[in-house]
Symmetry: C2
Subunit: 212 residues, 2 copies
DNA sequence: ATCGAAACGGAGGGGGAACTCCGGTTGAGG
DNA sequence: CCTCAACCGGAGTTCCCCCTCCGTTTCGAT
């Protein structure tokens, strides 16, 4: 509820609620098209409200970004838990990576936020840790089933996210196609096989600056 | 020679030559650190010259970018021809992708320019076509040798470039490590094997906006 | 040493973005 | 219906960027 002006007990006015909704919708659309760096003025204009009203509801860009993507991040985590619940861990593993890539590539803002959240770990922290543990457990099961190569590590998911974040194309359709093909290649590479050669060493992937 | 003020016959002044060199060096460093969008003012300050002098030598950002990366792009093409000359096409294929990834990940500006050049094909056009043909021939030989999967297509190289362009890390060392690991995974996925499943369809990858 | 063309660099116009101030407006409880 | 806190929105401030104009300085040929 950060950014909401009324501090204590009092139901917010209906026009304020209406404007808040319009801001969130416009911001969502603007972020999707142009990324989270889109100017606040553009968001306000798109919503048909004044710039001051936007800032009253969300004191800075970060709080707006947070509110917009909280929901989408939740559905993303839901996909992970769904995949982790699959009795066939390798099928779950593949499904998660495929879904993730599509979600990332169809929303430029989400791509940036998700990348920041997972690679940098600056925002949405508690959810991220839980998600990492769930993913690690899924990977462990897939390894135990002999389908995922044993030297797959947690940071390889970060690698997937970073690689997929580089995909783009003119139309959403083409971007999805490109992302699917990349995901298919990567999944193929992750699959256990008798002729494995050693992989290059695991990189140390620290925080990455996307927001500020 | 675009951007050089003296239109016809006359040897340039020594101070002009000196400043030109300083501009190119500073721009190279600035692009490497901050990407090609870095402000012209910063480049000029770094070179210790006035902003007007910068603009006199290079009338717009594009001509400066062109001049800075012409050399690096040439060495990149040299790597390709070297790889194409390898009697073992699969070894050449792998070496080229590995080298390419490292070059891309160690210079942010080059990453952006190279991505634009290869994905969009807007700049450095004639070189790009020749490079594409050379790469296609290398891939053909690698397929004929039974080492590269038959359904590998030209646009898969674009996929590699885009994926690798998403890699980043705190230190150059870590970025290289991450890039190496990604490249190893992709090469593994490209390798021919008896148990191939069909890949998702090839995406149509059109021009991509990086420079303006 | 002279002198003109060439090169230099700072000041400034124009634009856009982030964020704030404040006078006018409106919704909802009494 | 009245009132007033809550809300609205535009104008204004500051900052940084691109790029140009123009008075000053410097090179180098004579």
């Amino acid at each position: 509820m950060r950014g909401m002006p009324n501090e204590s007990s009092r139901k917010p006015r209906s026009d304020a609620l209406h404007n808040r909704r319009r801001i969130l919708d416009s911001a969502q659309a603007a972020f999707l098209e142009s990324g989270i760096e889109v100017s606040m003025t553009r968001i306000a204009r798109r919503a048909g409200i004044g710039i001051a009203t936007l800032y009253r509801h969300f004191p800075d860009r970060e709080s707006l970004v947070n509110e917009v993507f909280r929901g989408k991040l939740d559905t993303c985590l839901a996909r992970l838990y769904e995949a982790a619940a699959d009795p066939d861990p390798w099928r779950g593993f593949r499904a998660f990576i495929e879904d993730l890539c599509v979600m990332q590539v169809t929303d430029r803002g989400f791509n940036e936020v998700f990348r920041a959240a997972f690679v940098g770990g600056v925002i949405f922290d508690e959810q991220r840790i839980q998600a990492e543990n769930t993913f690690a457990e899924l990977a462990r099961r897939a390894k135990a089933a002999g389908r995922l190569r044993a030297d797959f590590v947690r940071d390889d998911l970060t690698l997937v996210i970073m690689a997929n974040s580089g995909i783009s194309a003119d139309t959403e359709e083409d971007a999805v196609a490109a992302s699917r093909r990349l995901a298919a290649y990567l999944i193929r590479a992750f699959e256990a096989a008798p002729d494995h050669r050693a992989l290059p060493p695991v990189p140390r992937l620290g925080p990455h600056p996307v927001l500020r």
